[in-house]
Subunit: 261 residues, 2 copies
């Protein structure tokens, strides 16, 4: 897959009548984090605005390039498929999809031409008239007891879903490779570590060879789960060495003492 | 399913050192829209605060019930599994998962006990020390060219993923029973083990506090993978105790020896 899929650049985010410039800036930031760039504003109450700039952080370029329109129809010119983001099912609206399924569909549509996500005003949402200009309604699943997402938060969730859909759920971002991993330890290295560990356990008086209980099997189980690596074996055996030597240093007189016995 | 799954109520959202009260309010709102309710704040710069209340909208109840703590360790008391939300792969951190996979895993963990999502400061993120207190790092896939999600936007995305995982994901699989497994160790037990281990490492001369290299982070990484259980903590700390005492004991004869001889 491509780094930033072309489809993402075909998606317009249209904010209809946003009241708070902070939300416009935060929406721009949300878009940019997910690789979207085309912001349309229908009669924003205050724009341009310092608060929008502040909340956009490093996404001020999206604000500068934002299209300001007088009507939703203007913002949807040349769009082939539009999704109305609504908090609830509309009686007279288009078919409704949940966000994840809508994102997959929207991406596929973006392969064919311009598409848009239409968001309503913070308090009033979208009017029925606006929703009916769209081919789909889209709902972000939320707790029915309190389903009021902030406008920019809704933009963030949908742009995130779109990015994941664009990369088939697996964007080529951070691999799950484990930081500073070294090669897996070999069987014999692991066994030598257990021998060494057992020696220290006995030497310290923690393990009584006559009554071993299940201490060693339990520790084997622990380290087996961790799947020890070469470097880790080195560290653990280094520590065991140091413990033995420090005991020895203080032991030497002890052994001499027991010598004559 | 209609009700909020119990698992969601077991998830703590921990914000470490948040600078902007607006983000605290917006995070509370994001949580509540997805059915999460337990907010922990580690040394917030300004809290309580009018801006937090305003941005919380109808989620002010979460702010009122928020726990304010002095340290991340306090916020993680009794937590069995913690996820550090980071913008980038850490060289010294635990294994990293992308948000969606992490949400599924986290929800399954929440079926077993308390879990936490740990978010860092808006500018500085989480310190390495904070990340190393967690068993996993979690990354929200974003555009590598601009991956800076707003704090509350990140909370929204993850709470959304958790809600979907709670309702869509396969029910938590019965964990394969492991011979003599005991309950997972709590955060504070694990941290006390690390303290004890460090003491023995220094006492034996293996760890030079002036030149610690990366020994401790590497051992943290090993034991994080193993997901320590209560019994195992008991065994490991018992061994560390015995090592410390035997070092003392072997000191005693040395002293006695010098007397009679």
């Amino acid at each position: 897959m491509l780094t930033t899929p072309v489809a993402l650049s075909r998606i317009r985010v249209v904010l209809s009548h946003p009241s708070h410039p902070g939300n416009i800036g935060a929406a721009a930031r949300a878009m940019k984090t997910m690789g979207l760039s085309r912001l349309y504003l229908v009669r924003p109450k205050r724009f341009p605005d310092d608060e929008a700039l502040a909340r956009a952080a490093g996404a001020d370029d999206l604000l500068i390039r934002a299209h300001c329109c007088d009507t939703v129809d203007q913002a949807l010119i040349d769009v082939r498929f539009a999704y109305a983001v609504t908090a609830r099912q509309r009686h007279l609206g288009p078919p409704t999809l949940p966000a994840r399924a809508a994102a997959v569909e929207l991406l596929a549509r973006a392969g064919e031409g311009e598409v848009a996500l239409l968001f309503g005003n913070e308090s009033a949402g979208l009017s029925n008239d606006e929703v009916q200009r769209c081919q789909r309604a889209l709902v972000i699943p939320a707790d029915p007891a309190y389903s009021s997402l902030n406008l920019a938060a809704a933009v963030q969730v949908l742009c995130y879903e779109l990015r994941l859909a664009a990369f088939d759920g697996a964007p080529p971002t951070p691999s799950t490779t484990v930081p500073f991993s070294s090669p897996p330890a070999s069987h014999q290295d692991i066994e030598r570590f257990y021998d060494h560990l057992q020696r220290v356990m006995i030497g310290s008086g923690f393990l009584d060879p006559e009554r071993p209980r299940r201490l060693l099997p339990k520790l084997r189980r622990l380290f087996a789960r961790a799947e020890l690596e070469c470097d880790e074996i080195d560290i653990l055996r280094g520590l065991l060495d140091a413990i033995e030597k420090s005991a020895c240093r203080s032991d030497i007189p002890q052994r001499r003492q027991s010598g004559p016995e």
